[in-house]
């Protein structure tokens, strides 16, 4: 590792085309060592593609961008990167026709580990899977597959974890346990880049990046991302919210109207226009309108909507 590298990932201006499709545009990301970095965005926005470029599974378009991963050049030193990165794929990608132990053992061999037996036994013990070590991994439930995958990519003691939607389809209890483990690992100095769809998970990350249609739209801590969007949000409570939301959407200055149970969140970027619209629709005294803090979810919904508009224009 290069001396004094403070970033686990530092890439700038990466692009990726699949045929004519520009899947990732000018992608830049800085993940500090020991940080848990959340990577958010709708389906098909290029999260998996970006992660694959970082760990050398995809080559970025030639002549565009560069960067380092753990101090190694992402374009040229992919072999070194592979040795020190643990990558958990979006889909379960261990061998379903191998047992749990055989899978771990195989992975350990691929990384040329010295004390393979001890490492595999240790991983099984931490997983609590010693008694089922000889079961085929294809027979495991989603939550167990996820834990096994995590154990497999931690086996060679990587310095950076790349987790691609690790908690998709996993129950809330298992998700909570999973995040506890991630935080424990980060506390030990491991850097983590994790892509997710869940807001609560986004809030558990030290920092975030939001990507849509291949473009990075916002980065920073959760608070920074929220404040950077300069979004104004009002909560409305009262009767007949459904017709009200239809009426509001038609007015200028109203960005997103999102129902949250018995309240309606109305967001917009121009506060005076937004207030005028609200005043026009909620003159009835039955409605209560109050300004609230924008949440991460409000911001993401607004970002996603904006990005869709950009996409249509092109």
């Amino acid at each position: 590792m290069n001396a004094g590298t403070e970033f686990a990932i530092d890439v700038r201006g990466l692009n990726k085309h699949f045929g004519p499709k520009h899947v990732v545009r000018d992608f830049s990301l800085q993940v500090r060592a020991g940080e848990i970095y959340g990577f958010l965005g709708p389906n098909g926005s290029g999260k998996t593609t970006s992660i694959r470029m970082i760990c050398g599974l995809l080559t970025p378009d030639p002549g565009s961008g560069s960067g380092t991963c753990l101090g190694y050049d992402v374009l040229r030193e992919t072999a070194a990167i592979k040795r020190e990165v643990g990558y958990m794929t979006q889909r379960f990608s261990l061998w379903e026709d191998l047992t749990i132990r055989e899978n771990l053992n195989f992975v350990a061999r691929m990384y040329g580990m010295k004390h393979r037996r001890e490492a595999v036994d240790g991983a099984l013990e931490r997983l609590g899977l010693q008694s089922r070590a000889n079961q085929l991994s294809g027979a495991l439930s989603g939550g167990w597959k996820q834990r096994l995958s995590l154990a497999a990519c931690l086996l060679h003691q990587p310095r950076l974890l790349l987790l691609d939607e690790p908690t998709a389809g996993v129950d809330p209890k298992a998700r909570r346990d999973f995040w506890e483990e991630i935080h424990a690992l980060a506390a030990d100095g491991l850097s983590v880049l994790v892509s997710t769809h869940y807001m609560d998970e986004a809030e558990r990350c030290h920092r975030l990046a939001y990507i849509a249609y291949g473009k990075l739209l916002a980065t920073g801590t959760a608070a920074e991302v929220v404040s950077s969007q300069k979004l104004h949000t009002y909560a409305i409570t009262g009767p007949n919210l459904a017709p009200l939301s239809t009426a509001l959407r038609a007015l200028p200055g109203v960005g997103q109207v999102t129902p949250f149970g018995n309240t309606l969140h109305v967001t917009g970027q121009d506060d005076s226009l937004l207030r005028a619209a609200l005043a026009a629709c909620t003159s009835d005294a039955a409605y209560r309108v109050e300004p609230i803090e924008s949440t991460l979810e409000d911001v993401f919904i607004s970002l996603m909507a904006g990005a869709t508009d950009n996409f249509v224009e092109q």
């Binding site: 694959r52 760990c55 050398g56 599974l57 995809l58 080559t59 992919t78 072999a79 592979k82 040795r83 990165v85 990558y87 794929t89 889909r91 379960f92 990608s93 261990l94 061998w95 379903e96 026709d97 191998l98 055989e102 053992n105 195989f106 992975v107 061999r109 691929m110 990384y111 040329g112 085929l136």
Partner: protein
């Protein structure tokens, strides 16, 4: 630090073995296919077919001709001998495969016979399946010598005419070379190996790609050469099992002679297996999915079967086809195996057929390494 790692290599071999062991269907096919093909082809070849349909085009209605026809039927080799009156009728029967033989008895048959002038009987045989006709033709030869002995004894007195009273001419149609069972069992060895080796390995990498496990393999430091060759080794052993089965059957069931050195045969077989496996692995790294790998296998397998000399005699093909066939390992392998088993050839005589297989292998592995994708692009 980036060199070939034996430990990783053994890891890949071990994994492949475990997966093979668990994939019952594939494993069953690997053993079952040669056994089934041997039973089907081998016994079809080795059987002594009787009751073959025949037609007689007789221009002579003498008792001698009738005796000859009855003797044909009594031999057991011919069934329902039909009499036809015109040549085009006979031609149509044999062309459509309604009969396997047409026996032409000439006009002056009995007159020449009585005079001891050896009348000619022309037998046209449909030799597309030579093994089916050879024994029957043999039986005809015997008949020519003996069938009329009793009838003639009355006419010509005690002395049986020598040479044979009839000059039997056989005209093998459609397949003049008349490939024998000895040719086909060694040929089966080559075709079965070509088929299973290429197909099994062709599926090896594409299967990983389709199941998504390839991404995991790529994310590890494993080198392409380790993955490719590590996947080949288990199938070499499987190929050897197949060869063992076929060889044993050729010796003890079909009695094919083994004139040459078994060690030389083993060596040649090993080279041939390796050549097919490299091709399979290369297909596997070019194809995007298992279906494509399968299509490539058949695309290669068909010319191998048709042009190599397994189905049709090599020397009967036009020059361009011979040239094409000389690229295929099976063409050389057939010559090698027949040479070793039937003629007892040794390595120096075999070398001209060995190096083309080696050259084929070299080109193919270079292509494979070139196309093996280190990334998911």
């Amino acid at each position: 630090m980036n060199g070939f790692s034996l430990s990783r290599w053994f890891g890949i071999i071990g994994k492949e073995f475990i997966q093979l062991k668990r994939d019952r269907l594939t494993f069953g096919m690997i053993i079952g296919v040669p056994v089934m093909q041997l039973l089907l082809f081998g016994f079809a070849i080795n059987a002594d077919p009787k009751n073959l349909p025949a037609a007689v085009l007789s221009a002579d209605n003498s008792p001698y001709a009738r005796t000859f026809i009855r003797a044909m039927e009594n031999s057991g080799y011919f069934r329902g001998v039909v009499q036809v009156a015109r040549e085009d009728e006979a031609e149509e029967l044999i062309a459509h495969g309604a009969v396997q033989f047409v026996v032409n008895i000439p006009e002056n048959f009995s007159r020449l016979l009585v005079r001891g002038e050896q009348p000619q009987i022309l037998v046209e045989a449909d030799a597309t399946d030579p093994s089916a006709t050879n024994n029957a033709i043999g039986a005809l030869q015997v008949l020519a010598a003996t069938a009329l002995a009793r009838d003639l004894a009355g006419t010509l007195g005690a002395a049986p005419p020598s040479p044979a009273p009839i000059d039997l001419r056989v005209h093998r149609r459609y397949n003049p070379e008349g490939i024998s069972a000895y040719n086909i069992v060694p040929g089966l060895l080559g075709t079965i190996l070509t088929m299973t080796m290429i197909l099994m390995t062709g599926l090896a990498v594409t299967r990983e790609r389709e199941r998504g496990t390839f991404e995991n393999l790529l994310a590890t430091p494993a080198l392409p050469i380790e993955v490719l060759t590590g996947k080949i080794v288990p199938y070499i052993m499987i190929g050897l099992i197949q060869v063992g089965l076929i060889f044993l059957a050729s010796q003890f069931v079909f009695n094919v002679p083994m004139k040459g050195n078994p060690a030389v045969l083993f060596f040649v077989v090993l080279i041939f297996i390796a050549a097919n496996l490299t091709l399979g692995i290369t297909f596997s790294s070019i194809a995007r999915n298992q279906l494509q790998a399968m299509q490539m296998t058949f695309f290669f397998f068909l010319p191998s079967i048709l042009l190599s000399g397994f189905m049709f005699p090599y020397r009967g093909m036009p020059e361009w086809a011979q040239w094409l066939a000389s690229i295929l390992p099976l063409t050389h392998f057939l010559v090698l195996v027949r040479g070793i088993m039937l003629k007892g050839n040794e390595l120096p005589e075999l070398w001209p057929q060995i190096w083309p297989i080696l050259a084929f292998m070299l080109v193919v592995i270079l292509l494979g390494l070139r196309f093996y994708k280190r990334t998911l692009d």
